[in-house]
Symmetry: C2
Subunit: 170 residues, 2 copies
Amino acid sequence: MAGGLNSTSAALLGLLHDGPLTGGQLVAHAGQRLGPLWTLTRSQVYRELPVLAAHGYLRAGKPGPRASSAYTISAAGKRAFATWLASPLEADHPRNPLLLRLGFGSYHSKTDLHRLVDQARGQHEASLAIHKETVNKLKKVDPDPYALASAEFGVAYEKALLRWLETIPT
Amino acid sequence: MAGGLNSTSAALLGLLHDGPLTGGQLVAHAGQRLGPLWTLTRSQVYRELPVLAAHGYLRAGKPGPRASSAYTISAAGKRAFATWLASPLEADHPRNPLLLRLGFGSYHSKTDLHRLVDQARGQHEASLAIHKETVNKLKKVDPDPYALASAEFGVAYEKALLRWLETIPT
DNA sequence: ATAGCCATGTAACCAGTTACATGATTTC
DNA sequence: GAAATCATGTAACTGGTTACATGGCTAT
């Protein structure tokens, strides 16, 4: 972490801009605020927190119940986060299990291929519904236009995938 | 690997259906045939090959230059691959660095936000061009409709993303 | 024949997932 | 106040990336 933050750490620092949080609270906030856009597991959070503290980006408060302490972001932490925000965008490497299977399409039996497409359709229709709901909720409640844009990406992605799905030769 | 194959191993077994290949050749074939649909590094290949051999899915030939031997898929290997093909589709968990940054959109300066969007546009226009070219090549040369469908997914994905990009509030 | 280059294989590292142990809290 | 449940923190493991060492090939 000499040069820059990894995405997980950056996400944590970002979340802590709104005030001190404990590990558990961070996990919860990440789930809500970053939601399906970027996942973050408990293990990752608890692994990164001490590292960030060691770098002086965070300061741990007094341990509460279960040795859980709230972490506060420092000035250095805010600086590191700002640097990350301005740093070059990492490449997007989508890795879709459906595509791998489809790459071997000619080895599939007709039935297996149909099942594969059906499964994919089911999964992505479900995701589409979730993203649509998120969009609707945000439109009513939250004024942050970027959270809305992210959710709309989800909708666009799922729609594009579903449309493409129907073009697969059977 | 008691129950099923992981995606990497499955990809290797799939590639070996066309005949014995060495580690290096497998890497090359993966790059060509699976291309951007599913990446596979040398390290992964060399790690999985002995494991697959130990399971009896592959049989190593006589070592050639540089201790590289061609691996042949066994009947058990073909069975394992067929089982994998028919097994339930894993979920698709896209994880897009752009979305994470955008999730913190309100912390961006206007200039940084513009730069972010510009970078993303550049990256995805480049990807779109590559996928389009792949589609064109395949249309002329390769008769496999599934390879074509995969490449067309690439095009659809990039187009959807680029269209969405322009809707981001500046 | 040698120098430089490329391909091959290895190893160390980092990120992400799953599964577990145990401390707190609620409920009866 | 005991039992069941839930949240918290840890640890082990798997998958993926990066960086390195060295064998073999090519060109002069």
